[in-house]
């Protein structure tokens, strides 16, 4: 089995870009200059992924202010007379990062325009282009609005309907990315299913929404579950209509997958994006070897446990190199 390696979420902006962003906020820097820096860094991060030998390459999503923002903006998930940049600042559980909570005030309609308005796929080799979108569940669950009762609980019927609406909009975008940008790998990020108590009740709805989200796609598809123990949904997650399932090895009880029971391609989140320690390639390879032996999934990719935006950029780069080298050693 050829073990693969790639990243799975937003990459960090450099210290310089972050300082420039801070100066922009204080009116001491121009937006044009800030964006120029982000573009240059995007090119650099693409090049690093490529030269490190990752199997699939993303554009790092440096322009994304959070992992829902461009989607919330394109789908108009905000109050009248405002925009998604003004939605409430909300903690992304399990991190000290925040997102602007989208507001779903009416049925989600496909805007008939790209959800991701700015990307850099054209500078990534064609057979390696990987795009990352939020999962339908995370998009709706992490939003406020018509699907929530006054006490904050979910209105089950409205929530289930919105899941499908969101999935259809994401599916349109995934198809567009395939057709217009030759993207060959579409990953849906799922940061809240593992901790959201309600997820189990909506399991069938989540499954249906994923089916709608991947419908008609030729690309490889995956769902990366992080921020909690993905084993609680085992073995049901194996039925999800995506080709690969990603998990966080630090918060998932891998013993549940033992004895050849993981009959799917496993994306093993072994590089820890919440720690500055750089994992040694040899250690990654050895861990991967044990996973192949004890879990024996149908396929294996080594990935970070969560998006690497949680460490400074220079550390993220070292982790990317370790990850690629770890897969190389394993092969």
């Amino acid at each position: 089995m050829q073990v693969q390696a790639y990243i799975n979420g937003i990459l960090p902006r450099s210290d310089f870009a972050l300082e420039t962003g801070s100066a922009l906020l204080k009116g001491r820097e121009t937006k044009e200059n800030f964006e120029r820096i982000l573009e240059k860094e995007t090119q650099n991060l693409i090049s690093i992924q490529e030269t490190s030998g990752l199997n699939y390459i993303t554009d790092g999503q440096l322009f994304w202010h959070d992992f829902l923002r461009p989607i919330a903006q394109a789908l108009s998930l905000h109050s009248e007379n405002s925009n998604a940049d003004e939605n409430p600042v909300t903690r992304q559980i399990y991190t000290n990062t925040f997102y602007r909570k989208p507001l779903i005030l009416q049925k989600i309609k496909n805007p008939k325009k790209p959800l991701i308005s700015k990307d850099f796929f054209d500078i990534i080799p064609k057979n390696k282009r990987k795009a990352i979108l939020p999962s339908p569940f995370s998009l709706v669950y992490l939003s406020d609005g018509m699907h929530r009762n006054e006490n904050g609980t979910l209105n089950e019927d409205v929530f289930a309907e919105l899941l499908v609406d969101a999935a259809l909009a994401l599916n349109e975008e995934a198809k567009r990315l395939e057709k217009d940008s030759d993207v060959s790998f579409i990953q849906f990020n799922e940061p809240c299913m593992c901790y959201a108590n309600e997820a189990e009740n909506f399991f069938d709805d989540i499954n249906n929404a994923l089916e709608a989200a991947v419908n008609g796609l030729k690309a490889i598809t995956s769902l990366h579950l992080y921020n909690g123990d993905a084993s609680k949904f085992f073995p049901q997650i194996l039925k999800f209509p995506v080709k690969r399932i990603g998990i966080d090895a630090y918060s998932t009880d891998l013993s549940k997958f033992a004895n050849n029971s993981f009959k799917k391609f496993l994306e093993l989140g072994i590089v820890n994006s919440k720690n500055s320690l750089i994992e040694e390639p040899e250690a990654i390879a050895e861990y991967g070897k044990q996973v192949l032996k004890k879990i024996n999934p149908e396929g294996l990719a080594l990935v970070p446990n969560r998006p690497l935006e949680l460490v400074p950029q220079h550390i993220a780069i070292e982790k990317i190199k370790s990850l690629a080298k770890g897969a190389e050693l394993l092969n």
């Binding site: 202010h65 409430p88 090895a249 720690n275």
Partner: protein, 391 residues
């Protein structure tokens, strides 16, 4: 000082004035001095203008390092006085110095704790960032890092002072863990990685509470501090770790005779119940609410969407009072006094008048000073309007 009904308080940071920031590096220009003069006139600090401008000009020309150090110290202290009067003039009852001597709520204490090393910048949201460190050895007390600022302030105002200090759990959660979290993946049973991060974080957080935060609070109390606000914005980061937040709070104040409160923000407060009942002698819970509220007037639950969690506070009959966030710190819009009034009246309808103190959602350091002042003034006016209704 006798406090009125619905006392008003600050939460923490204020933006540092440009004459202070640029003044320290010898780069203050005419515009900065103009702003200084305008603010000092507004805050009735006329008699300090000339001395402060002198200090700023001396910094530009001073070559002697020892002299320069003293001048910079003087300018930082001046900025503390400025912030103190800023909050007094805005009409607040309980104040501090807007954290004028601190770099930022995480970086500043970490610099003064043994066992940490900085790794670089990371984003918190949008274009906001912070400098993140790793724990590389057991966290140990180095110096009482907020004592000097408190000693300077304590006889400068008749208002009650509330000293903010970043909590142990937040310092642990916001740090990387290279000490307790060091593992050799190579020789590790793959099934033993599960849950290890949580155990490591618990060890680090409790060490910080016992070895660092408690000695710091003790140093403040020994010198006369009466009220310490423990800032724990990371409290609900891991919903299953709120018990650890409670444990670190209790450890941090154990055996100390002090009014201790906790500030949390941008969190899902629901997960804090029922663990909140295990907090020992927590005087006040200062939480952010306005961020998720509507801007419409009204004291019904449909309008006050940001304040839903108050019902839980009532349901669990939590001892202690609420520090009610009534100002959204992430927007320049000035909340009208009537909106502040209605937010207070709604809260008092749920919890009763005596359970409510009034504050911004969080520190106002991301807002320009004129915006922060208008917001705080409106908050004080709104509290007064609410008092009139409740007479």
């Amino acid at each position: 000082m006798n406090l009125p009904l619905f006392p008003t308080q600050e939460i923490g940071s204020l933006q540092k004035p440009s004459w202070r920031v640029k003044g320290l590096s010898g780069k203050a220009n005419e515009q900065d001095i103009k702003e200084l003069k305008e603010w000092y006139a507004k805050l009735k600090l006329h008699d300090r203008i000339s001395d402060t401008v002198d200090v700023i000009n001396q910094i530009k020309n001073e070559k002697n390092k020892a002299e320069l150090f003293e001048l910079k110290k003087k300018l930082r202290e001046e900025s503390q006085i400025f912030a103190l009067k800023f909050l007094e003039q805005a009409g607040l009852d309980i104040i501090y110095d807007g954290e004028q001597t601190r770099v930022e709520m995480y970086e500043d204490p970490i610099t003064d704790i043994n066992g940490f090393g900085f790794k670089g910048l990371v984003r918190s949201f949008d274009v906001m960032k912070y400098r993140k460190a790793a724990c590389i050895a057991e966290p140990l007390f180095k110096v009482p890092y907020h004592l000097d600022e408190f000693l300077f302030l304590k006889d400068k105002t008749k208002h009650e002072l509330k000293v903010p200090i970043t909590g142990a759990y937040t310092l642990a959660e916001w740090s990387y863990n290279e000490f307790y979290g060091k593992r050799d993946l190579k020789n590790l049973d793959i099934f033993s990685l599960f849950g290890s991060e949580k155990l490591d974080r618990g060890e680090m957080a409790l060490a910080l509470a016992k070895n660092v935060i408690r000695p710091n609070i003790k140093a403040l109390v020994d010198k006369g501090a009466k009220w310490v606000q423990i800032d724990e914005p990371a409290a609900t980061t891991y919903p299953d770790e709120v018990g650890l937040v409670v444990e670190t709070f209790n450890e941090s104040v154990k055996g100390l005779n002090v009014k201790a409160s906790i500030h949390m923000c941008f969190s899902d407060y629901k997960v804090f119940f029922p663990a909140i009942l295990e907090m020992k002698n927590c005087y006040q819970y200062a939480w952010e609410f306005a961020n998720a509220d509507t801007n419409k007037l009204g004291i019904d639950s449909k309008t006050r969407t940001g304040y839903k969690v108050l019902e839980l506070f009532k349901e669990y009959d939590v001892p202690g009072i609420i520090g009610l966030g009534v100002l959204n710190v992430h927007t320049d819009s000035i909340e009208p006094a009537e909106l502040v009034r209605d937010r207070i009246l709604y809260a008092s309808k749920v919890l009763g008048n005596e359970k409510i103190y009034v504050n911004p959602d969080c520190g106002l350091r991301t807002r320009k000073l004129d915006i922060a002042f208008s917001k705080l003034k409106s908050m004080a006016e709104g509290a007064e309007l609410a008092r009139e209704v409740c007479k």
